[in-house]
């Protein structure tokens, strides 16, 4: 029932085109993430689906219902759309206790008191806030408030969940556990989820598909793997994950990188001046003297990996090597670089 069809939706704030001709079909039960830099229009798009912002043009269907169409003068109010939402600003009601905040969607549905109680406590449990039911939001930490917002969105098991950076104030441990809960719930209830996040790893781990936006425009829609491994353009490659860009020349089936003195196999449908894009984890450090040689400039310890900057013939190349996490290389050392994969874009 909760397939969402968005057709060429545009939203203007005065002169600013916050969302520009956005089209997507979100399938029933799908987990779709919207990724993109700060200010690219993610929240605006979500708010249009929820019915808090009126599009300037384009149509939005939820299930079979046309819920928004400025052209046809149709606009269904938010409360008619049966949506659960977590707001980027939490929107936790300061005058209600944690329990009342979370129980609210159930109360509105007129559910029996004891069931409300049970479901609410269950939802609080799920976000690890058992024991906080009677607190007021002002007596909670930021992350705790965010979890209240999450519990409130989940409690009534809506058909469509819109989550706007719902985990941004949680630590990794908790975030992971929340991710798990959201995924479980989604699978159990077959909910459609539209998820806005700034965390690529999160988007990768959870999504069926990812929409990448940039300045209001969709750049690419695809599975996490597609978006990461075969980004549609340089901008996406740059935004999703880290990448080293190096001037190159596209040849048939190969790409030549003069500064590294290297030719690597590659698939692309053009030739001539190009940019080679190499993700830091596509490179590993080696002591093989045959490999491209560089000097370690900088080394940042990341816990589960080390982030290296290596000078190769004047160009700084960034390498993240998990295998090398424990290695004893240090600044100034000469090391070899082994390139496992490369992406190529027209210049």
């Amino acid at each position: 029932m909760a397939e969402v069809k968005i057709e060429s939706v545009t939203k203007l704030f005065g002169e600013v085109k916050a969302v520009n001709a956005f089209s997507a079909l979100i399938r029933n039960g799908e987990f779709l993430s919207i990724l993109g830099p700060s200010g690219c229009g993610k929240t605006t798009m979500l708010r249009m689906i929820a019915g808090f912002e009126k599009a300037n043009s384009g149509e939005i269907y939820i299930g079979d219902h046309l819920v928004s169409s400025p052209e046809k003068k149709i606009f269904a109010p938010p409360e008619k759309r049966n949506i659960g939402m977590v707001f980027q600003s939490y929107a936790v009601w300061p005058h209600m206790s944690v329990f009342d905040n979370v129980a609210y969607p159930l109360k509105i549905k007129g559910i029996a008191k004891d069931i409300i109680r049970e479901k609410t406590l269950q939802a609080l449990d799920m976000v690890h806030l058992d024991g906080y039911a009677d607190r007021l939001p002002s007596q909670l930490s930021g992350g705790q408030q965010q979890r209240v917002a999450l519990a409130r969105a989940l409690v009534s098991e809506p058909q469509l969940l819109l989550l706007d950076e719902p985990l941004s104030n949680l630590d990794a441990k908790l975030r992971e556990s929340m991710r798990f809960e959201i995924k479980e719930l989604q699978k159990k209830l077959n909910v459609t989820v539209v998820y806005v996040t700034h965390d690529q790893a999160e988007a990768m781990a959870m999504s069926d598909r990812i929409v990448v936006m940039h300045q209001g425009v969709i750049q690419q829609i695809g599975s996490p793997l597609e978006v990461y491994e075969t980004p549609a353009n340089r901008v996406i490659a740059d935004f999703i994950g880290l990448v080293n860009f190096i001037d190159a020349e596209a040849r048939q089936d190969t790409v030549h990188i003069p500064s590294l003195g290297l030719t690597l196999p590659s698939q692309h449908d053009f030739s001539g001046k190009a940019v080679a894009a190499i993700r830091p984890e596509y490179i590993s450090l080696t002591q093989d003297e045959q490999a491209v040689q560089g000097t370690i400039v900088h080394k940042v310890y990341l816990g589960d990996a080390v982030d290296w900057r290596i000078d190769v013939n004047g160009a700084q190349i960034r390498v993240i090597d998990k295998a090398a996490a424990l290695s004893q290389y240090s600044s100034g050392d000469r090391v070899g670089l082994e390139f496992k994969k490369v992406m190529v874009f027209p210049e």
């Binding site: 808090f52 109010p77 600003s89 936790v92 969607p105 509105i108 409130r152």
Partner: protein
């Protein structure tokens, strides 16, 4: 009234617009229609358009003089009231001032004293020949003459400020208490002192409420008759209302037309001020209640704590306890001609007053009519305010303007308008019923509730309402469960701001009351003017006591949620 208003109504004929539409309809029928009809009639003489009334009224230099007086006095009182109320509201609402709760109640107490009773109390205290306070000061400081003379522009402004500044205080303090404290903290951490923060962050953030309170004071002062009659007239200070009443008291149709014509100037000025303040604010955003809760923090006054408490107490003493004391003494005194002494005190005034059954009837009448007026006005105000600050419909400000129209019109003109429109000529005959009193109070005081509620509403982040809609609540439910509780203090304040003046309203009631609907204001006036000023004082003290006690009980029962 406005095409886009109707078109958005048509495309979204849902609950929200239906409710707003009905409210605006009621407003049009009961407030706008009588006022505008009266104005229309002032433009017609015997059925034809005739501007001679206006020529005469506005061709008369005297009216211009009183116009200038009115504007001057109203503006001055507004400024002084805001200048006093904002710091007081801040001290009481946002700092660790000792005795806050007490002061909070004390400062609204003067709102519970009918201005005509209060003003008389001040003339008793500060008249130049035998004013109690003057005499005391002469005695203590061995002066050769009375230091103060209440009859003068200074005295007028003094009385006005004391009895009308609670508008500002109530409106501002309600909004201040709900403000997100981290906005102030951010300023402190930027290196600003508490006072600087107050000035540069808190004050501007409170602009909607400050303007709202200011507009209310301005409207109230501009259209008041009691204080100018009691304090201004002996000093030969004429204002618009005294001029208007002079016209009305001619007792002719022409007099009514002239009074209306002159009242139009007040309506215009008030609406201009409203419009200007809205324009000033529209360019900014004043959300101070957001979706991320922060801990309520109080500003610590440190070494200033006690000096400030002393200052505030002094103000409270002068502004509230002196006049109250004067009223109380009057109610207990045997003979007004003799000095206050123990053997000149008696409680017989009280005993006779309490035994008088008529008092109970009128109290009840007033209670019902004022209660109804306040409740209906508050409900309408919520929707009008919502339309004004939370929607983007063009023409959304018109209902607000209409309610201001009523507020700015002197009561006597409203009374006439109601007689003329609701005596059956248009099919609706409310004359001599309690309904016409309720309508009259609503017309006059609706703007109090609208301004107060609108100011608070503009400070609530819309995501809080959205979250409720999103939870499946319809618009009314969202309003009830989220928006209204969040601005609860202002709703209560709005109700109270309508209730109190309606409760002891005089000018309108005395013309509109019927044989079964005598009100406390009328009774007070009778006592004050003929029977016994002492009885009037007794009654005033009783009113005050009932309201205060009711307030305390409500606060206790509702754990502080309801009350002023």
């Amino acid at each position: 009234m406005n095409r886009s208003f109707f078109s958005s109504l048509k495309t979204n004929l849902d609950l929200k617009w239906l409710v707003i539409f009905v409210s605006v309809g009621l407003l049009l029928l009961f407030t706008a229609f009588p006022m505008l009809y009266l104005v229309l009639r002032s433009l017609m003489v015997e059925g034809t358009l005739d501007l001679t009334t206006y020529w005469e009224v506005y061709g008369n230099i005297v009216n211009w003089k009183s116009f200038v007086n009115t504007i001057y006095i109203s503006l001055l009182v507004t400024l002084v009231s805001v200048a006093i109320s904002f710091p007081l509201a801040w001290l009481v609402g946002r700092t660790d001032l000792p005795g806050k709760g007490f002061f909070r109640t004390a400062f609204v107490t003067s709102y519970m004293i009918p201005p005509y009773v209060g003003a008389i109390a001040w003339t008793q205290l500060l008249n130049p020949s035998v004013g109690y306070l003057n005499e005391w000061l002469v005695h203590v400081f061995n002066l050769s003459a009375s230091p103060f003379d209440i009859y003068g522009i200074g005295g007028l402004i003094w009385c006005f400020t004391l009895f009308y500044s609670p508008f500002a205080f109530i409106t501002i303090s309600r909004a201040l208490e709900k403000m997100d404290p981290s906005l102030e903290e951010a300023s402190r951490v930027s290196g600003d002192s508490p006072l600087g923060t107050l000035w540069r962050v808190t004050l501007p953030l409170m602009f909607p409420s400050i303007f709202a309170g200011g507009v209310l004071v301005f409207i109230g002062v501009g259209s008041a008759f009691g204080i100018p009659a009691i304090v201004g007239m002996p000093a030969q200070i004429e204002v618009l209302t005294t001029r208007i009443v002079t016209y009305v008291y001619m007792g002719t149709g022409k007099g009514i037309r002239e009074a209306t014509a002159l009242a139009v100037s007040l309506m215009l000025v008030a609406n201009f001020i409203l419009y200007a303040s809205t324009m000033l604010m529209n360019r900014r955003d004043y959300v101070t209640i957001s979706g991320k809760s922060t801990r309520p923090g109080l500003v610590e006054l440190g070494i200033w704590k006690w000096p400030l408490a002393a200052l505030v107490s002094l103000y409270g003493f002068v502004a509230i306890f002196l006049p109250l004391g004067s009223i109380l003494v009057t109610s207990l005194i045997k003979s007004l001609s003799r000095p206050i002494s123990f053997d000149n005190l008696t409680i017989t005034n009280w005993l006779t007053a309490i035994k008088n059954e008529q008092y109970m009837d009128t109290l009840w009448n007033s209670f019902i009519s004022a209660g109804l007026a306040a409740t209906i006005a508050t409900v309408l105000a919520v929707f009008i305010a919502y339309l004004l600050v939370k929607t983007r419909v063009s023409g959304r400000g018109i209902p607000d303007g209409l309610s201001t129209l009523g507020g700015a019109t002197p009561s006597i003109v409203i009374a006439l308008a109601l007689i003329i429109t609701f005596s059956g000529e248009f099919g609706l005959n409310l004359y001599s019923t309690m309904a016409i009193l309720v309508v009259g109070y609503m017309v006059k005081y609706l703007t109090m509730a609208v301004r107060t509620i609108a100011a608070s509403l503009s400070q609530v982040h819309s995501s809080l309402e959205e979250a409720a809609l999103n939870s499946g609540a319809n618009w009314l439910q969202a309003l009830r469960d989220v928006m209204l509780p969040l601005i609860g203090p202002s709703i209560v304040a709005g109700w109270f701001l309508v209730f109190m003046p309606s409760f002891y309203e005089l000018t309108m009631s005395i013309i509109l009351y019927g044989s079964q609907t005598k009100t406390i204001g009328v009774l007070l006036y009778e006592l004050q003017t003929y029977a016994d000023p002492q009885d009037a004082s007794v009654l005033a003290v009783i009113i005050l006591f009932i309201v205060l006690a009711g307030n305390v009980i409500l606060r206790k029962v509702s754990k502080g949620a309801i009350g002023i």
